[in-house]
Symmetry: C2
Subunit: 340 residues, 2 copies
């Protein structure tokens, strides 16, 4: 197996900088559309053979150094008993958001082998096929709480912050319940065969440093602490994190993901000597002509070499409009430019 990705996560010497791409299995690939056209998004997540098929596609087509389970961060809320649908163009909809302790009491602490067995089946299938490491994942508690409270995507997170500020006990109760279910879920993923785990905190960057410390970070710490004994590398990706560089290292993660707005040397300064970094090319850079794109890749590769470890990635999910050949160009360029 190609274990370059795992070595880089651990800060060990590598022959070249490994790369995977957030949302690498997804809408920019015509092969994905072929599978997806036959079922809804959530059906695809819940059909292990098909979820495994689309997980494998980018490994074959663009040659990344790690696979990431095809799934969605919101399946945990679904498993906890929240109704969930995905509407075209609109994104996720949870028609019964959490507004009170009574709403929260209705949520169950799901047995992942029962309610999320399809994820474990997908992982088992994948481990038989893959020759690169498999990354499992979940949403971070704060990010999941925004969906649970807002009932879908949000701009200002008005209801979430309202609950934080006006009903902090209820908010913390929700966070505890989500965190507990994420811990059993991630443990089950490792048990099934996940070789690294990423916690996606897509909306962390909407919080002031003070609110992040008080309401979000402690629950990420709980997850990292609980999963540490599993021995698999733990990656924490807080999106829009330039204002949180002093705080994200306190998560305890082995690897911290960076969005494209962060200057890599500043992150290295803030993170110290034993945290690897992952990132952080602006996904829209894939529109650049190849010569200019290559310059940006080279700059990130060079800066990343000064880190404890560096996994190349985009600074956010690959955009659906990206030509697959440009994604392959990035993978090849990272390998070529980083060769030791």
């Amino acid at each position: 197996m190609n274990d370059t990705f795992l070595k880089a996560c651990r800060g060990e010497a590598v022959d070249y900088t490994p790369i995977w791409i957030m949302r690498q299995a997804g809408r920019y690939l015509p092969d994905y559309h072929k599978v997806r056209s036959k079922m809804t998004f959530l059906e695809l997540c819940k059909t292990p053979e098909r979820a495994a098929e689309v997980t494998l596609q980018p490994v074959d087509i663009i040659g990344v150094d790690a696979a990431i389970l095809f799934s969605d961060i919101l399946v945990t809320l679904d498993a906890m008993g929240m109704e969930l649908t995905f509407k075209e163009k609109q994104g996720p909809v949870l028609p019964s958001p959490i507004k009170s302790q009574a709403d929260l009491d209705k949520l169950i602490d799901p047995d992942p082998m029962d309610k999320l067995g399809y994820v474990m089946d997908t992982i088992s299938l994948l481990r038989k096929e893959l020759n690169v490491p498999l990354i499992g994942f979940c949403g971070a508690p704060f990010t999941l709480s925004t969906y649970a409270i807002e009932g879908g995507s949000s701009k200002a997170f008005w209801n979430t912050k309202k609950m934080m500020y006006q009903a902090p006990e209820l908010y913390h109760n929700l966070m505890k319940k989500i965190t507990a279910s994420l811990i059993t879920y991630l443990k089950a993923q490792v048990e099934a065969g996940a070789q690294a785990l990423q916690v996606f905190d897509s909306w962390a960057g909407s919080l002031s440093p003070g609110d992040f410390s008080e309401f979000a970070l402690p629950y990420v710490q709980d997850i990292i602490t609980a999963l540490k004994p599993s021995g698999v590398p733990l990656i924490y990706f807080a999106n829009n994190c330039a204002g949180l560089l002093d705080l994200t290292p306190k998560s305890g993660a082995d690897v911290l993901g960076l969005d494209w707005r962060v200057d890599i040397p500043k992150a290295i300064d803030a993170f110290g000597d034993d945290i690897a970094i992952q990132g952080n090319l602006d996904p829209i850079s894939l529109l650049l002509p190849e010569d200019k794109l290559e310059k940006r890749i080279a700059s990130i590769v060079e800066r990343g070499k000064k880190a404890h470890g560096h996994i190349f990635n985009l600074g956010h999910g690959i955009l659906p409009e990206t030509p697959p050949e440009k994604a392959k160009f990035v993978v090849d360029a990272v390998h070529r430019l980083s060769k030791r």
Copy 2:
């Protein structure tokens, strides 16, 4: 006249920390709704008596130390010849976005006294009524370019970055044309009586530091350089700027606005000894109970005292759902807590 705001902008000694609030004239005030219900948003901007009336409301009702002209950053594009409407819930719509040099050639370099005379009339009316300084403003070239290219609000700025990357000459031509019209517009505002100017870069935080340096910052510098001789304090507010703290001081502005994600001491470190700061309470904090809200205000007031100058503000526009009495509470608390 109460000139505390102007003194703080210049880093001079003040008796207390002055405060104004972004979007202080607007939807959270019932008095505003009364005026607005009789006309469209754009009609209100273009009717000097009514625009002046709503500009004055927050000075009387919540007691801020500066007034800001009631207008919109997009009136410049309207004056340049781009069709513009505001749709309820959806925001601004520009049905003929810029896609080519031919589209760009159609835009005029407007004489502000002709095409934006209503703004100057509003300013003249206000100067007769106000006992606090009047802030004029414009959108920053990058932010305006996103509306001109996307045809409205956007999430990822795909078309804007596409033009930057694939047709950089066209993009720079657009930025030059917008910048030229902003300079004559701001000069006319000062001539009419504006006593400070703020440049709003609402979407600057979507750019990587490299792209910000190459495509956005030089045009802000051009504006600041051109307006410096006017002698009025120049404020540059780049939203979501935690990753740009090394770069925004290069704008040349006298005051830099901070969104709520930025830790004030870090900004002071990055900005040095001759730039004042403005900000940065999270607008959603106004939902907190008064005791907790006051603690946050006190913390910002204390941190701000270490800056060259500090103007208290929210870290983004006040939210429409905010009770006006909470806005007044913030103004009073800032005055009380900062008394020297």
